[in-house]
Subunit: 78 residues, 2 copies
């Protein structure tokens, strides 16, 4: 069965406070090469048949919040 | 500056309750081709210089919980 990967990220203009905390912690641990970290979601969908238009619909209706998030359908993985 | 993408997923043997809820909701919305959904994290790191060994260390120390999660360094994006 095909597995489809969708990446959902916060829009670049929005502050990602979780990412900011991670970045600050890593710099404190000595990784001074780090400038920013942003955290999003990866959603792997297993479907009996893959239709990109339907996966796009799933993203628009439920998987992503279009007000604050962008999404990208990466397609079939593995 | 290079942006490095890291994908953190729950180990396949563990129940992903958030993913389960998403899958149930999508099936209720009529997407009956969906069998499972699993939700992980995507972490985009912006670094002044990229050293994969150091990014691996960041994952081991802070970004992933090795008890319940797997991670994969996807490398430089864009």
């Amino acid at each position: 069965m095909p597995r489809i990967r969708v990446i959902v990220t916060l829009k670049p203009s929005l502050l990602d406070s979780a990412g900011r905390t991670v970045a600050d912690s890593l710099v404190k641990l000595g990784y001074s090469e780090l400038t920013t970290a942003r955290i999003g979601k990866v959603i792997d969908l297993e479907v009996t048949s893959y239709d990109e238009a339907r996966v796009k619909e799933m993203c628009d209706k439920l998987l992503a919040n279009p007000v604050i998030e962008d999404y990208r359908i990466e397609g079939v993985i593995e």
